[in-house]
Amino acid sequence: MSAANKPVNQKAWFLILPVILCVAFSAILPLMTVVNYSVQDIISPERRVFVGTEWFAAVMRDPELHEALLRQLGFSLAVLAVELPLGIMLALAMPAQGWKSSAVLVMMALSLLIPWNVVGTIWQIYARADIGLLGAALDYIGLDYSYTGNSSHAWITVLVMDVWHWTPLVALLCFAGLRSIPDAYYQAARIDGASKFAVFRYIQLPKMRGVLMIAVLLRFMDSFMIYTEPFVLTGGGPGNATTFLSQYLTQKAVGQFDLGPAAAFSLIYFLIILLLCFILYNWMQRVGTADKQGAGHE
């Protein structure tokens, strides 16, 4: 999308028409429904009252929502703080070539391909003190560990599960970035007597910048809409300790069938994501052109 010298051809619209229709059916139509619900009080299918922005105001004041949002932000930031350094370290430690590289690659990627509810199930089994290896081990060394009873234990378990699930993504992206560094760079560094840290700081890190940005934003957004794994593992409990935004919204929409507030909240949630997307998109465009210009000077 970055090359500017592509020919102008308005007929290309016909080529993207099928995509537009598909996504319009599954995105625009539903979105309009949400907007419609968010400004009405639906008492029954026949009786509905226009309430304006009342639901939005109510949702914005909802203390439960504030808590869920804070929990969500804390969780997403914690995810980034752990997964990024760990992923970079893993990428640096991975063998570059040969069957060892392939084997490590496949073993790492395995957790990414497991259905999200099975990820929950795996950890549910793994962390239980009576039948799980992790739970039993923690019990054995004298910790009174229980992810169903203690909120901070539950929170940490969800975080460790996410690290287990998604760190390979960061590692794989960084690994792909590292592979694009020409050998000549390392040779030059060796001649200059550069330290290991200098090589990392001035050669490897700049070259990984593009993929790291993708990793940061994918991880931030995907963790921002996490639903399935905590739903299976803890069900949002104990109490509300692991109820994140998606779970909170689902409870409101399907559990209590509170259409108006749920729709208003959906829109707010959507706008938050839209803002983040906008930042990501511009960032990626800029990195794309910066890399092209950089390549032109070399």
Binding site: V19, T33, L90, M225, Y227, L245
Partner: protein, 270 residues
């Protein structure tokens, strides 16, 4: 290369791989045990090795129909996603047109939208048009994030093919459909494979929409698995076996796309 540092790195990598594999191993281990053994003793290997849990799944329709339902909607979704994404990705990678950047951005937002936001309207929409509890409903709902993903991945692959090839073909008198199908498609078949794989995968792992839009006839395996509590307590062994079976398809295919995994996850941007 410093020998000591090399060892430290390898040690770190191995430690992580153990951390990564152990939870999966534990589930595989449990899937070969009986419920009595799981609850009564604690061992790294099954003491009374049994295949009964797998037999249960393959003979009980309420279990194996879950896999069939999942495969049906995943297949429908993958075919539609890749088919509509191919021409669109070509348009984005080759031409400029009015609003191209905005449409591309709009597609990206759909990949990033939490499915929970659309849960309510999907539920209402599909109830109204009578698609509830059908495979089509889930397949269409999953288009929301899979079509943008496929467009992004394919666009990345297509941009790697020099434009001179297109121009030469047009000069030689190829029509667009003929050029696209006989020359261009074979050139990007790796990209098509990767896009299909990622569509398959993201549809396969999704739970929220699949669970909400189905009840009986099209109930996917991921939803079946969330309801294994019976009067006798949790059926851990069968649950573990079902979990292992959901990993198998991904684990097999992953070998073929191992070089492209990073590219797929980065939506063609690597």
């Amino acid at each position: 290369m410093n020998e000591k540092r090399f060892q430290k790195r390898t040690l770190f990598l191995i430690t992580y791989l153990v951390f990564a594999i152990l939870p999966i191993y534990w589930m595989v281990n449990m899937s070969f045990k009986t419920n009595e053994e799981i609850l009564s003793s604690f061992s790294f290997f099954p003491q009374h090795f049994t295949l009964a849990n797998y037999a249960t799944i393959f003979t009980d329709p309420s279990w194996y129909s879950g896999y069939i339902n999942s495969l049906i909607y995943v297949a429908i979704n993958t075919v539609i996603s890749v088919t509509v994404a191919l021409p669109a990705a070509y348009a984005f990678s080759r031409y400029q047109f009015l609003g191209d950047k905005h449409v591309f951005f709009w597609l990206l937002t759909n990949r990033m939208t939490p499915p929970a936001v659309f849960l309510l309207p999907f539920f209402q929409l599909y109830t109204t048009v009578g698609l509830m509890d059908t495979h089509i409903a889930v397949a269409l709902a999953h288009l929301l994030f899979n079509v943008p993903l496929a467009v992004w991945i394919l666009e990345g692959f297509m941009s790697g093919i020099p434009r001179e090839i297109d121009e030469t073909a047009y000069i030689d008198g190829y029509s667009f459909p003929r050029f696209f199908l006989t020359i261009f498609l074979p050139l990007i078949k790796a990209g098509v494979g990767v896009a299909a794989f990622f569509c398959f995968m993201f549809s396969w792992v999704e739970l929220l929409l699949a669970r909400t839009l189905t009840s009986v006839n099209a109930k996917p395996i991921v939803a079946t698995m969330t309801r294994t509590v019976s009067a006798a307590g949790m059926d851990w062994a069968t649950l573990a076996a079902a979990g292992v079976l959901t990993i198998v398809p991904g684990a097999i295919v992953i070998w073929f796309v191992r070089h492209y995994i990073a590219k797929g996850f980065a939506m063609g941007r690597v």
